[in-house]
Subunit: 403 residues, 2 copies
Amino acid sequence: MLIVQKFGGTSVANIERIRNVARRAVREAKKGNSVIVVVSAMAGETDKLIALAHQVNPNPSEREMDILLSSGERVTCALTAMTIQALGMKAVALTGRQLGVYTDSVHTRAHIEYISGERAKQALKDGHIVVVAGFQGIAKDTGEVTTLGRGGSDLSAVAIAYAMNADLCEIYTDVDGVYTADPNIVKEAHKIDKITYEEMLELASLGAKVLQTRSVEVAAKYNVPLMVRSSFNYKKGTLIVKEDRDMEKVLVSAVAHDKNQARITIKDVYNRPGIAAKIFKAIADRNIVVDMISQNIVKGDERADISFTLPRSETKAAIKILDGLKGEIGFSRLDVNENVGKVSIVGVGMRTHSGVAAKMFDVLSKNRINIMMINTSEISVSCIIELKYVEKAVRILHKAFML
Amino acid sequence: MLIVQKFGGTSVANIERIRNVARRAVREAKKGNSVIVVVSAMAGETDKLIALAHQVNPNPSEREMDILLSSGERVTCALTAMTIQALGMKAVALTGRQLGVYTDSVHTRAHIEYISGERAKQALKDGHIVVVAGFQGIAKDTGEVTTLGRGGSDLSAVAIAYAMNADLCEIYTDVDGVYTADPNIVKEAHKIDKITYEEMLELASLGAKVLQTRSVEVAAKYNVPLMVRSSFNYKKGTLIVKEDRDMEKVLVSAVAHDKNQARITIKDVYNRPGIAAKIFKAIADRNIVVDMISQNIVKGDERADISFTLPRSETKAAIKILDGLKGEIGFSRLDVNENVGKVSIVGVGMRTHSGVAAKMFDVLSKNRINIMMINTSEISVSCIIELKYVEKAVRILHKAFML
């Protein structure tokens, strides 16, 4: 079996943790598996380099930024290979270039175009553990150093697993896997053994921070089995795979929540075609990600209200943008509520079972929790509620759906 | 004019110093010159990485060591280019690979085979300041990352200056240039404006730490004019060039000294052919560099004494080696003197003027300084004397030769 093991910054934060990573890789290799280890920079290193860059230049060039940032993963991949060698196994460190990670030429957020992996294949054949510097590649057209953006090491791992035809891509992190709810809130919450790519994507977008969305999307696209597990113990983690029949039986897989939300209502905007587009384009242009949108428009009315939610940290920036648009969109006032949160239920079983949303609303209302906004997808239902009820809502929903 | 400016670790030790480096490069470019900046890793970074490597593996693989260590120069070259850009000049950072520094495949101490420099030429033509990561290259045959060994950034700079046909290679350091003697000892000591490659090599081997020997050798071989100067002020430094007529007029250019010497005398070794070779091969095998050797052998004698000097820090190791050879070389005892030092005079003028050595001995003896060993080359005379007289000897010789 060929296994790709990806370790993030906290898993390689110091020498002792790098030893732990090396031991894991060796353990897998000794079972007779081929192992490719993908590492991030040591925790804090990338941020330190970014801070240095901003000290010398408020607007550092992205090409040089990539040369700068790619150095962090080179350090960990070399150290990890040396550590494995110290444990008596053959190991080889490969940079993005040496592995053949070819990307487009978009610096600091390049997209992988293909991975040749020739050297890695040969090294595996020769009995080496291959240690790869994640997050980095080389532009196919220009030979320039590129990086894949935040969370790029997860993406490297998934793309390498696909290119090398690996049987499993393990993403090591500081939690045991994906939980039915936040165990800090729900003491009955338990680790999910198996979940679909779609559910994982939904959970990630609903506030679960276990995996980066882009890497799950790529894994889903190429059907790369992912396992999220802890680098601090040997418990089995959560396997993320394509939907199968068993999974459909489960109505709700997890309850997610997000306490960093705010809602802005724009009161009495002109009820004209294109007004909403104008508002949300202006907000998107400043890289603010709007989550839910609700428009309550009655045909013939001259004015309407538009509400949307966004990360609470962006509230001020959004207000500023809206104030700037006042002349064009003509609202009477902004109603800003920073005391809101989101609670969501996720499960592929919803596709084939009706009444799940109704049950959620019922449970919340019976507990006198008012629903301010609702959003649904094929496999999830989310409600915006008062911030102070979020934890309670998570607990009662977890219980109601008997997770 | 094309100028290569090389800045060592202390000159790029922090953001403020990197700004200073950037300002110097921009200043030169604004005069209408083309500028290539070669940088080392920030002071302490390389040592930190080496320490990490030894923590994970007492005997780290050299291939991985090169991936590890080459990261330091990548950081400084990216930061320096960004800083120059912040000053409003175009700049481009190039790694060893991107500049085309092709080496042999000997990891951690590779030799440069050639430098293509294509990208640098184009970038200079387009009005960029080119910032190069020193110390690193890429193996011509395998594409592996290589490094050039300690002091490798000086070597990078000289090789780049040669390959790019530069008019001058400036080596920036923390001293103003090469002095006629250590200014801490001789208050009349002054900076030398111009010195030959050979004198510089001689001074370097006699204890002056300004420049690394290997880079001066390469500069001499390819006739690259070198300028040693301070990165902390704008004073002209010391120019190191081929010998010319003017220089021959100067009898003695500088007085050098070395207080880290020891002398070991092996008493009563067998007087047989090959004994000395056996001794010094055993010592060289442990990487101990012996300096002076004196053998006092009378034909027909059964036993003889052999004395040699070495760095004081190596005394214990050398004694251990000699004790191990006792059976083969059969000495009666070792006489170890750790209270010795070396004082030397250097000057190309000695080639055409006789009596320089005699004058040196005369000056020392008039001051009641006993000479324990003597070594001469075409352009230098060195004496081993008691450690406590070294500083005095430097002063009186500086005065006697009226430097």
